[in-house]
């Protein structure tokens, strides 16, 4: 077993460098090359129309000034109108195709990330204790998709359209082409570098300042009543003012390069304008070309910088997406440890998805739980004192102790999420291992999730085959019969996302009903440490009684010594 645990540690891949993280995720999002190319073509056609409009309009005016026959202008007039319509039309098509491309990518990526998280070692998933860390993944996946719409496509369009403008001018007069190329490079690369710098400052200073502001805001809001009683309202206000000042300073630091980027773009486009005007006028005077060419050389630079104007926003987005990709890869590593084959451990032969399992317990055998001189702790924490205990199948083992001493860690050790520091934890004949979590061991954490779906579906989280009758019976057992009757659609009543519409006590009892319906022969329950009310206590008593009757083994972490009366064996982690 220790060998396999070592393999687990080795399989925790280190995240690749950030640049490759974004690239790897974009590859995972199965972006269609065809769609991407179409978006870039449409985008280039839109901005190209603007450049074309300015070039042909300049030609038209210059030609007309020579007072030719109106028929000579007819074609140019049509082309100018075409470009006038083209810009809006192609822009619309580009926005549709780029969003479609990105959204398809986001859907693939989201499913891919979910799969990765689901198949990653249990310690990765269950160890991520806070739901909001996982919820942030949703935003991060969207940010990777935004890289397509707001960075990759606009930057590609900028390259194509700038190339086009440089090509036109270069064809008319190589000197003008060279001037425009230099100016566009300065405007594009200069702005990109400066914006990148600004984004880095924002990521370093800004994030710290934001955290400080958030703390001060929460203190000012949630602690308002307390500040009133203790007369510290002024101090709270000062703390917020200081945090605000720090945040302004961070903004100031990131605004400096951003403003410089805008100035560089204005300077480059202005410089190109002056130079091209000089080239055009001197070119005509030297007899190099005629009036129409000169007009185009002088006026195209007015429209040519719109494409590189998108560079700062695109750079910022690229930075944001890169950070998001880095977080995703760190949380859901690319090559998850392969699921160990079922044959490795006799216990894992149990059905993973027990839909249709005839009875929750009878087919799955009985498991005793034994702790032998077991000391537990997360890698950096002080380990608990060694404890020894044994509970037979069908018994209840209570683990008590003060807050923070490691009760929940002990439960995590039994679930195979944390390796023991010393001693052994055995489930039946085998050492506790993460492969047992699911087939043999089921755990309900203190902060277990209530899904934004119906009451019945929330209970089916325990087992896919739960019937309406079973659900009603389980709810009645935890004292929620009256609550269920009061719901508008009974078992089919949706609960808010995250179970918002359920009170704390009701939520707790709903989770206990879920425990009753789980199929695993070993049940780990982490009772919340604080504020268990009478109804909650009764519900827990009833659940323990039922589990005992079904011959299932329960390990219960509790804070309430009264509850340990319900246990066959009680272990205290207190010294």
């Amino acid at each position: 077993m220790t060998i396999r645990r070592g393999a687990t540690a080795a399989s925790a891949t280190t995240p690749p460098p950030p640049r490759r993280a974004l690239r790897a995720l974009l590859r995972d999002s199965e972006l269609s090359r065809g769609r991407l190319a179409l978006s870039i073509i449409n985008g280039s056609a839109a901005l190209g129309s603007a450049v074309g409009l300015s070039a042909i309009a300049a030609w038209l005016i210059a030609r007309a000034a020579g007072m030719p026959s109106p028929a000579d202008l007819a074609l140019a007039a049509v082309v100018v109108r075409f470009f006038g319509i083209g810009r809006g039309l192609f822009r619309y098509l580009e926005r549709l195709s780029s969003h479609e491309t990105a959204l398809r990518g986001v859907v693939s990526l989201r499913a891919r990330v979910y799969d990765r998280l689901a198949s990653s070692p249990a310690d990765t998933v269950v160890g991520l204790r806070r739901g909001d860390v996982l919820a942030r993944i949703g935003g991060d996946v969207d940010a990777v998709g935004d890289a397509v719409v707001r960075a990759i496509i606009p930057l590609s369009v900028a390259v194509v359209v700038s190339g086009l403008s440089i090509g036109i001018l270069g064809f008319l007069d190589p000197r003008a082409g060279a001037v425009l190329a230099v100016a566009i490079l300065v405007a594009g690369l200069g702005a990109a570098l400066l914006t990148w710098r600004s984004a880095r400052i924002a990521a370093i200073q800004g994030v710290a300042a934001d955290a400080r502001v958030a703390d001060a805001v929460l203190s000012g809001l949630e602690g308002a009543a307390e500040h009133r009683v203790w007369g510290t309202t002024g101090e709270a206000r000062d703390a917020l003012a200081a945090a605000n000042a720090a945040s302004e300073q961070a903004h100031e630091a990131q605004a400096r390069p951003a403003a410089l980027a805008a100035a560089v773009q204005a300077l480059a486009s202005g410089g190109a304008l002056i130079a091209c005007l000089a080239i055009a006028v001197t070119g005509v005077n030297a007899g190099l070309y005629g009036a129409t060419t000169a007009a185009m050389i002088a006026l195209v630079p007015l429209a040519a910088f719109e494409a590189v104007g998108a560079v700062p926003t695109a750079t910022q987005q690229l930075f944001r997406s890169r950070e998001a990709a880095r977080r995703i890869v760190a949380m859901a590593p690319e090559s998850p440890a392969p699921q160990s084959p079922a044959s490795e451990s006799p216990a894992s032969r149990g059905p993973r998805d027990s839909a249709g399992a005839p009875s929750p317990t009878s087919s799955q055998g009985h498991y005793a739980v034994t702790l032998t001189d077991l000391s537990v702790g997360w890698p950096s924490a002080t380990p608990t004192r060694p404890v020894t205990a044994h509970v037979d199948a069908g018994g209840v083992l209570a683990i008590v102790g003060r807050s923070g001493i490691g009760k929940t860690t002990l439960l995590a050790t039994l679930a195979g999420i944390v390796a023991p520091v010393a001693g052994a934890a055995r489930i039946g004949a085998a050492d506790a291992h993460r492969d047992l979590l699911g087939p043999v061991v089921g755990m309900t954490a203190e902060d277990a999730h209530v899904f934004g779906t119906t009451v019945l579906e929330n209970l089916r989280v325990a087992r896919g085959s739960v019937t309406a009758d079973e659900a009603r019976d389980a709810l009645a057992a935890v004292g929620l019969a009256a609550w269920l009757d009061a719901l508008p659609d009974g078992l089919d009543t949706p609960l808010g996302t995250g179970g918002d519409s359920v009170s704390g006590g009701e939520r707790r009892r709903l989770l206990l009903a879920r425990v009753l319906l789980t199929p695993q022969p070993v049940v780990l329950i982490d009772e919340p440490a604080e504020h268990l009310d009478t109804a909650g206590r009764h519900a827990l008593g009833a659940v323990l009684g039922r589990l005992r009757g079904e011959g299932r083994t329960v390990v219960l972490v509790t804070h309430h010594l009264q509850l340990s009366d319900l246990a066959d064996v009680t272990v205290s982690l207190d010294d």
Partner: protein
């Protein structure tokens, strides 16, 4: 949502100053753009004209850029100055925008937090109060793009656009007629497109948000599923939900992007029409090349700010919504309990609570419902009862932090009975030493765990020497030994003459209490 909230101007000083400076800078920018266009047409006209120019094509605008600018060297020199001015203006505007944006955010944040704190715990517990923290942090942060990108363009469309129209009118009234004729079409078409699509896109938006939150819900519940061995079930569901979300999103985008297309189409087409018309009139000799060039260069500038307003609208919508929410909080009147009379000293006074009832935020229950008890100095009073039935709320009412829907809190002093809500609130509240369930202890306290914070708060309450000690679940995070120590300190505090009121489930603490009061909620008759 209004593009510029008048409350922002009225209430926030930095916002007012920024708007004025930006308007001035916008005017300067308009002038620079104008001079640049006139300089280019001056310099270019002689080489495009078939015969030497005789008349001044710029008319009265020649005051700005004299005829000498037809000389290339003169024009280039002037252009150099104009470009420098534009670079400086751009840089200044950008710097000011960031600075003003973060100043306004700070100011608004400080005002809202301070006002929300004054609104009291009942408002904080209501649905509206719950969102304030998000509004003033992430919400207000999105005001920055509004200040940096959207607002300057909005002001430019109020300065540059009219100035350019007047100039084009001065140069060539037929081109001006085309511009003036198409300009009103922009808002008209956008409103029309908006009206016909509003309902559909609202429906799509709703579907989108629902689908997104359900996907996130599945991901957020992954640890729970994994702990029960059920993690692989929803995998296909994630993809299904995602595809449904994509279809809903594309449906709404197809409509949302229409208004953008109308805007681009009208503005670019108008410029093209101006160019074509100028071309044919040049052939007919109806307009000079110098005029034609100036109009051709200026026509797109009329529309540019409008187009930019459209581009930046969506990025700043979140910020405007947050500002809206922030002002809604600020406009809520503060109904703080308390009067003006000086608070009596509570040392030695008996606190009397009569028929106290406070309705829950949803208004369905009274928690506590008709609570009566009295707490004498030198005794421990324990409030017991199920969670959510109003023990903490009763404590807050006793401390004068919220006004109940019915009932009284009073002090029986040697001078007679004084009602808590007739006296100055701070003077009353500050005689209590309170250890709440989730103590705050300021920003530094946030680095401590909840258990540690409770320990610090308990210590502060028991050693403050205030006349009344109020403890909310004081033993919930303690082991047996520390719990016994806290209980003996509580009885010791009472022994020194303090009035002690605790809310608790702890049997050992209830056992030492002199008075035990059952707190129960009542259903509101419907």
């Amino acid at each position: 949502m209004r593009p510029l909230d008048p409350r922002l101007i009225r209430r926030i000083g930095p916002a007012r100053r920024y708007i004025v400076t930006t308007a001035v800078l916008g005017f300067a920018t308009a002038l620079a753009i104008l001079v640049q266009a006139l300089l280019i047409s001056r310099a270019l006209a002689p080489v495009l004209a078939p015969s030497p120019l005789t008349e001044d094509g710029l008319g009265w605008l020649g005051v700005l850029v004299p005829v000498e600018a037809r000389n290339l060297a003169v024009a280039l020199g002037w252009l150099g100055v104009v470009v420098t001015v534009r670079v400086v203006l751009t840089w200044t505007q950008e710097r000011l925008a960031h600075r003003a944006g973060s100043r306004v955010i700070s100011e608004l944040r400080a005002q809202v937090v301070s006002h929300a704190a004054a609104l009291g715990p009942r408002w904080a517990a209501s649905g509206e109060g719950a969102g304030v923290a998000t509004t003033v942090t992430r919400g207000l942060d999105s005001l920055l793009p509004y200040f940096v990108r959207y607002l300057p363009q909005l002001l430019l469309s109020a300065t540059v656009t009219p100035i350019m129209i007047v100039v084009v009118l001065g140069l060539d009234w037929i081109s001006a007629a085309i511009v003036i004729g198409t300009l009103p079409l922009v808002p008209i078409f956008m409103v029309l497109v908006g009206l016909t699509t509003q309902e559909r896109s609202a429906k799509h938006l709703d579907a989108m948000q629902r689908l997104a939150s359900r996907t996130l819900d599945l991901i957020a519940g992954l640890p729970t599923l994994r702990a029960l061995g059920r993690e692989h079930g929803p995998s296909a569901r994630v993809r299904e939900l995602g595809d449904a979300q994509r279809r809903a999103t594309m449906g709404s985008l197809r409509i949302a992007f229409l208004s953008g297309m109308v805007l681009e189409l009208l503005t670019t087409l108008a410029v093209a029409l101006v160019a074509v018309t100028l071309g044919f009139r040049l052939v007919a000799g109806g307009v000079t090349i110098e005029t034609a060039l100036a109009v051709l260069i200026l026509a797109p500038e009329v529309y540019l700010p409008l187009r930019m307003v459209g581009t930046h609208f969506h990025a700043s919508a979140d910020g405007m919504a947050a500002a809206d929410a922030a002002f809604d909080v600020l406009e809520r009147p503060v109904a703080s309990p308390g009067g003006t009379a000086a608070a009596p000293t509570l040392a030695g006074a008996t606190l009397v609570v009569e028929d106290l009832a406070v309705s829950t935020p949803d208004g369905r229950r009274l928690a506590p419902g008709r609570l009566s008890f009295s707490a004498r100095p030198g005794t421990v009073t324990a409030l017991v009862g199920p969670n959510g039935d109003g023990k903490s709320t009763a404590l807050a009412a006793v401390m004068g932090l919220l006004s109940p829907d019915s009932g009284f809190v009073a002090a029986l002093t040697p001078e007679g009975r004084v009602d808590a809500y007739d006296v100055e609130a701070a003077g009353w509240s500050e005689q209590f030493a309170w250890a709440p369930q989730r103590p705050d202890l300021g920003p530094e306290g946030r680095t401590l765990s909840l258990g540690q914070r409770q320990g610090v708060a308990l210590e502060r309450a028991l050693s403050a020497g205030r006349p009344v000690v109020v403890l909310d679940e004081p033993t919930s995070h303690l082991d047996r030994a520390s719990r016994d120590a806290v209980i003996s300190r509580i009885t010791a505090a009472a022994a020194t003459g303090a009035t002690v009121i605790v809310a608790t489930h702890e049997e050992d603490l209830i056992a030492v209490a002199d008075v035990v009061v059952e707190v129960t909620a009542m259903e509101v008759a419907r």
